[in-house]
């Protein structure tokens, strides 16, 4: 019993009061998971501070707030989503817009941009592409400790679906723009499913973005299947306001010889919790998990990473870095599990944070569980200030101290940006990070998008 019953009950009540309309609006296959999921949520509740994986993050105050929820996109949503045009210089993408967790598109709910690739609404895909969704939906998002995943399974009815068939490579990255817009405070959940089959490739950019100043709570689950010898990258850029809480749970299941990269870049947000689960489910798979968090005021960013080395000769790398200003707080928890028999595992982890004030705080915790003997593992964490020697070096060349500090922070952050596999996006992120560090990041110049 991790949270006070009243809070948990509010969400089970939300389920009970709305399950009829949720089920009416979504596919029978997705509905088949709901009953068990809500029961498991009722068992586990909202993760509290006594849950090791949530020790440094207080969700209670967010879940206690009276939010509204709705389970069908309204007519206004279609207009709003259609109006939202996004572009990044030199970055050509297939664009998908989710509004409050739904895919309200007037141009059909699924698109085929070529090479047999399908992108669009998960709800729609679950109805008409059962062969793919039924093989993968609900298979990777599992947890015996985090009730939020089950809460999502119980009630989410839409989100993005991406399917890249065997051997295919999309001609450009796919961008998912996650918008929340409402005059009221809302709680919303969505569910994404991404399937990249054997020998295929995909680069996904997710952009979390708030459009109105209301209070938001978002609980999103993304399941990813990366087939044999496939290559997959997911880059999530978060730029939400201080009244927004974003909880993301990303499960990446990898088959043998596949490569995956996950990068979470948090530029702004009241509370952000990103849980990234990497399952190395076949020999020779490798995964890169990176994150950058830039926080100030009372913001809180928590990155939880779970890398599961289930097979021999897999490699994983974790690199998380952040700069915390004012009274901002951050947390990092990186778990590496090397299962029995996963010989030849190489697993590395690094978390470095810079605190700009005495009141900023960072909690960092490595968690290594190793049950094989031929293993190379390392982890390291630093929490410190900007390097005075480096500051002096820059100022001794005529650079003002303020500018020198910015250059050092930028240089520090750039190491994570460098991991982004798309050059135009790297450049865009460099610009955004610099704007963020300068305090010039406006609500609309944000994310990868320029609001139309």
């Amino acid at each position: 019993m991790e949270s006070k019953p009243a809070v948990k009950d509010r969400y089970t009540d939300l389920y009970l009061n709305n399950i009829a309309s949720i089920e009416k609006g979504s596919s029978p296959f997705m509905n088949s998971f709901r009953k068990e999921a809500v029961e498991r949520f009722a068992d586990m509740g909202i993760p509290g501070r006594t849950n090791e994986a949530y020790r440094y993050t207080n969700l209670d105050i967010w879940f206690r707030h009276e939010f509204n929820s709705y389970f069908m996109p309204g007519p206004g949503d279609f207009e709003r989503a259609a109006k939202f045009s996004c572009e990044v210089e030199d970055l050509d993408v297939h664009n998908l817009v989710l509004l409050n967790g739904f895919y309200p598109s007037n141009n059909g709910k699924l698109r085929q941009p070529g090479s047999g690739i399908t992108i669009g609404s998960l709800n729609e895909a679950a109805r008409i592409m059962g062969s793919v969704t039924e093989n993968h939906y609900g298979r990777y998002a599992a947890s015996d400790t985090d009730g939020l995943i089950h809460l999502n399974t119980a009630m989410a009815s839409d989100g993005v679906f991406i399917h890249v068939p065997r051997g295919m490579v999309p001609d450009k990255p796919i961008q998912i723009v996650n918008l929340v817009y409402s005059k009221e405070d809302i709680f919303n959940q969505h569910r994404n499913l991404i399937v990249v089959e054997d020998n295929a490739e995909a680069t996904i950019i997710i952009c979390d973005h708030t459009l109105s100043p209301s209070r938001f709570l978002t609980n999103a689950v993304t399941e990813v299947y990366v087939g044999r010898n496939a290559r997959f990258s997911i880059i999530r850029v978060q730029n939400e306001h201080n009244n927004a809480a974003k909880l993301t749970h990303t499960f990446i299941h990898q088959e043998r010889d596949s490569q995956a990269t996950s990068i979470n870049i948090t530029l702004h947000g009241g509370l952000v919790r990103n849980s990234t689960y990497h399952y190395l489910g076949g020999e020779g798979a490798s995964t890169n998990s990176a994150g950058l968090y830039l926080t100030d005021k009372t913001q809180h960013v928590d990155n939880y990473v779970n890398v599961d080395h289930a097979y021999p000769n897999c490699t994983s790398n974790q690199l998380f870095k952040g700069v915390l200003d004012d009274v901002a707080t951050g947390a990092f928890n990186g778990r590496i599990l090397v299962r029995k028999g996963a010989q030849g595992t190489r697993a590395y982890q690094s978390n470095n944070s810079i605190l700009l004030t005495d009141d900023a705080r960072m909690d960092t915790k490595p968690q290594l569980e190793i049950f094989a003997d031929d293993v190379k593992c390392s982890h390291g964490a630093t929490v410190g200030q900007l390097d005075e020697n480096a500051l002096f070096y820059l100022t001794s060349r005529g650079i003002a101290r303020r500018e020198a500090r910015l250059m050092l922070m930028f240089g520090f952050a750039h190491e994570v940006i460098q991991e982004i596999p798309v050059e135009a996006l790297r450049e865009r992120m460099d610009t955004l990070v610099m704007q963020r560090l300068r305090g010039e990041l406006s609500r609309c110049a944000s994310c990868m998008v320029k609001c139309g």
């Binding site: 070096y393 100022t395 001794s396 005529g398 650079i399 101290r401 050092l408 930028f410 190491e415």
Partner: protein, 260 residues
């Protein structure tokens, strides 16, 4: 241009500089020599504005201004340059961005517009040739992964870019093989103008074969104990520092016995 008068400084309560006086005029090359731990690098760092030592007394005037009141960046924009003994590695900050920012801050200070991208690249190319620095180095992060020699050349490259009026080179020769030493010294000589001055801080005489000083000072135990022409450097090379130490200690002793 630079007048140091009876400068005293301490670090963590320990007196390092015990009253240094030095006068550098436009166009002069001064060498400051001395054994390890005599205070050479402390003096260089204080002149460049590193805030790590407490100034206990004395003054430093630079073109008539109180140098000790100026921030490091102001000193640089006013033409003072320190070549670091141990250049700092700054991961993630590219050489190009570093130099572009520095150059444009200097230009802004002089009331000039920022350099255009093409003019900047042209300037970089020109200065790189001058110090024979590997072209790819400027595409990397500041000093990151540079060899010892590359780091020192990079200091001279930055000096070439910023065209200082007073360059203080702190043991720029240490760790250099003879070819690198020649390149570094050539760079310094080529950059020398009639109205610019150089203070070369070194432990060994060999750099002074290439950069010929007008005046040689010997710093020992926080004081300048001897000042002479370039022949002093040769004498030190031949006889080592021991005779200087003995001479200095004698003076110290007589001072203790008969305080004025």
């Amino acid at each position: 241009m630079l007048v140091i008068d009876n400068l005293k400084a301490s670090i963590n309560g320990k007196q390092i500089l015990k009253g240094i006086s030095l006068h550098v005029k436009e166009g002069e090359v001064h060498a400051i020599m001395g054994p390890n731990g005599s205070g050479k690098s402390t003096l260089a760092a204080i002149l460049a504005g590193r805030e790590f030592a407490a100034i206990d007394g004395g003054s430093v005037s630079y073109f008539g201004r109180n140098l000790l009141d100026m921030a490091p960046e102001e000193r640089s924009r006013d033409g003072l340059f320190l070549g670091f003994q141990y250049p700092i590695e700054i991961p993630g900050v590219s050489m190009v961005n570093f130099m572009k920012t520095a150059i444009n801050e200097h230009r802004k200070y002089r009331g000039l517009e920022p350099l255009s991208a093409s003019d900047f690249l042209k300037l970089m190319r020109e200065k790189k040739e001058l110090v024979e620095i590997d072209s790819t180095l400027t595409n990397r992060s500041v000093n990151e992964g540079f060899s010892g020699g590359e780091k020192k050349k990079n200091e001279i490259f930055q000096m070439a870019m910023l065209e200082p009026r007073l360059a203080i080179l702190d043991e720029t020769d240490s760790g250099l093989d003879i070819d690198a030493l020649r390149i570094v010294a050539n760079g310094v000589n080529k950059l020398k103008r009639k109205d610019s001055s150089v203070i070369v801080i070194t432990h060994y005489q060999r750099l002074l074969d290439f950069i010929v000083p007008d005046v040689v000072h010997v710093l020992y135990d926080g004081r300048i104990v001897k000042t002479a022409g370039k022949e002093l450097a040769l004498e030190l090379e031949e006889k080592g520092y021991d005779w200087i130490k003995k001479e200095a200690e004698k003076t110290e002793e007589s001072w203790r016995v008969n305080p004025q």
